[in-house]
């Protein structure tokens, strides 16, 4: 038996080698980003891949020339508001589409799925005109309105609602619970894990979005973290230490979420396909 085990492990040696190789490649750029944030731009250019002593200097340069805290606050504000609204609106729709479904609703749902194929650049100009007409440029509403309701999220909640026990719903109705109460008092608690996965993926998407904020958030005071770091790299001479310090700050929230909620993140990505 023991011999058998070691034979299996020996057979897996190529797997280990390849996985180790790929893991190193995956991790290295991020490791390098962190070390580069602690080095001077000259050290970065020389190819130093160990931690340096210039972190404080880089950080001071970053906050003296850029509104780091303002952009961090903006990114958090937009992402949190978008996540809360998106979850509420899309879960409500997923609940309605699945648990009250009939032929017309199923057709309507199929129609909504077509919106997945609409590219962002195609709606960008009309939405920009709409946002500026409604005086929503540079506001949190301008940022979130196009992404509150997405076919992907509705589909995710709809698919996951299949496991929701319908008999209990009937029983609740017998007890005189209203439909709204069923949603808040029964559906919400039962679907907790779907909400968690949806929240992680929506927050990540909102935090990382770039094209749309670049279109509507024109004031410096409204800019997000991805916009801030993109500006750091826009000049002709780039201070790589400062740039990587900015990239690090932009990545911390998503990395923290990744390490704490990796399972939910993976579920959120694959959520709509079951």
């Amino acid at each position: 038996m023991k011999k058998n085990k070691s034979a299996i492990q020996r057979r897996l040696i190529p797997s280990y080698i390849f996985l180790t190789f790929w893991s190193l490649i995956s991790v290295f750029p991020l490791y390098w980003m962190i070390t580069a944030a602690t080095n001077t731009t000259v050290e970065v250019a020389r190819g130093k891949i160990w931690f340096g002593t210039n972190a404080a200097e880089n950080f001071n340069k970053l906050i003296s020339q850029n509104d780091l805290w303002g952009s961090m606050a903006n990114s958090f504000k937009y992402s949190i508001v978008q996540t809360l609204l998106c979850l509420f609106v899309c879960s409500l729709a997923g609940f309605g589409f699945e648990l009250y479904h009939d032929k017309i609703k199923d057709r309507l749902f199929a129609l909504l799925l077509l919106a997945m194929m609409v590219p962002q650049v195609a709606t960008m100009i009309p939405l920009f005109k709409m946002a500026s007409g409604m005086k929503l440029l540079n506001s949190v509403w301008g940022f979130i309105l196009p992404s509150i309701s997405t076919p992907f999220m509705i589909m995710m909640f709809r698919q996951n609602s299949r496991n929701f026990p319908v008999d209990i719903m009937e029983a609740a109705r017998m007890d005189g619970l209203s439909e709204v109460a069923i949603f808040f008092r029964m559906y919400l608690p039962v679907m907790k894990s779907t909400y968690a996965a949806a929240a992680v993926i929506t927050f990540m998407n909102a935090w990382n979005s770039y094209l749309w904020p670049k279109v509507v958030m024109l004031d410096n005071s409204a800019q997000t973290m991805p916009m801030l770091i993109a500006n750091l790299a826009a000049g002709y001479t780039i201070d790589y230490g400062v740039l990587m310090m900015g990239v690090l700050f932009c990545s911390i929230p998503t990395m923290v979420i990744f390490f704490i909620l990796q399972k939910q993140f993976a579920e959120g990505i694959t959520g709509a396909v079951k």
């Binding site: 996985l19 790929w22 490649i25 009250y100 650049v121 195609a122 920009f128």
Partner: protein, 299 residues
């Protein structure tokens, strides 16, 4: 009679509730996706600056212009080059990694999976800037290559069209392989172990099992990742803007980047930009339809 009426009332109430639940999301999609799409099409038939747009003369003016626009054609070429090279390589690596990680006896599974998945934790702008820095003329990759004696002097990766494209493709593979791996891993875990046992009894070996058992069972997932990757690649924007700025001399620019430049960078040419974006929409739709057709052949 009375109870029947009451029962009917309840049912109607339920039906109304169902509609009420799905209305906000549905309305938002109509207002924020479908209506703008129609508007974009109408605008694509117009010319002039954003405040003062008139019908094109002829009405297809913007569409005809694309045939003359070498730069737009190049942006289509670039985008498809990224698509054709990057997507297959990435998906093959993703399937392979998922297959390796699904091995029952593999140790340190969690650590490997986390590492492979990790690039997804970075924003698109972040990783584009990290790769821009790594491949800079005075950057780490150059330093290493010169030290190893592979290059005699620093090479301007992002300043040369061919290598700039290669860097974009490498960066894309780095960022998205783990993402797709997650789908395949989820798909593989749904395959019953007994299916493999049966294949073993029938005498199928490693590769044969993979090709004749795993791949067919994964087909729906493979089709879906293909559609998503195509959709994503055709809309490539952040990388083109932040890694190469579309350069050198617009040789790496993507369709979305070029459309953005025509809309908000310098002269706003909304009509033309809408026409180009409509073409992108049609490409996405056609490719998705082909993919679904191919994926639908059940045998």
């Amino acid at each position: 009679m009375d109870t029947k009426k009451k029962g009917f009332g309840l049912l109607a109430k339920q039906r109304a509730a169902g509609w009420a639940f799905l209305t906000p999301a549905t309305l938002l999609i109509f207002i924020m996706s479908f209506y703008p799409m129609v508007q974009a099409f109408i605008m694509s038939l117009k010319t002039g600056s954003s405040a003062n747009m008139q019908w094109g003369n002829p009405i297809t003016y913007n569409y005809a212009r694309m045939f003359q626009d070498k730069l737009f054609q190049r942006s289509i070429g670039n985008t498809f080059l990224y698509l054709i090279i990057e997507v297959p390589i990435m998906l093959i690596f993703a399937v392979l990694l998922a297959q390796l990680l699904n091995e029952k006896h593999l140790r340190f599974k969690g650590i490997f999976r986390t590492c492979v998945f990790l690039p997804c934790a970075t924003s698109l702008v972040s990783y584009a800037l990290i790769f821009k820095s790594l491949f800079a003329t005075q950057g780490l990759i150059n330093t290493v290559l010169v030290h190893l004696g592979i290059f005699s002097e620093n090479y301007n990766f992002l300043g040369t069209p061919a290598s700039a494209k290669a860097v974009i493709i490498i960066a894309l593979i780095w960022r998205w392989t783990g993402y797709n791996m997650v789908f395949y891993l989820a798909g593989l875990q749904n395959i019953e172990y007994s299916v493999y046992e049966a294949a073993k009894i029938d005498g199928a070996t490693g590769w044969k099992t993979f090709w004749y058992v795993t791949v067919p069972l994964l087909k729906p997932v493979i089709v879906m990742t293909f559609i998503m990757s195509i959709n994503g690649t055709l809309q490539l924007f952040d990388e083109s803007v932040n890694l190469t700025k579309g350069g050198p001399a617009n040789t790496t620019i993507t369709m979305s980047h070029y459309i953005y430049n025509n809309s908000f960078d310098g002269v706003a040419n909304f009509g033309y930009a809408c026409a180009m974006s409509f073409v992108v929409f049609i490409m996405v739709a056609i490719l998705a339809a082909i993919n679904m057709k191919v994926g639908d052949t059940r045998d």
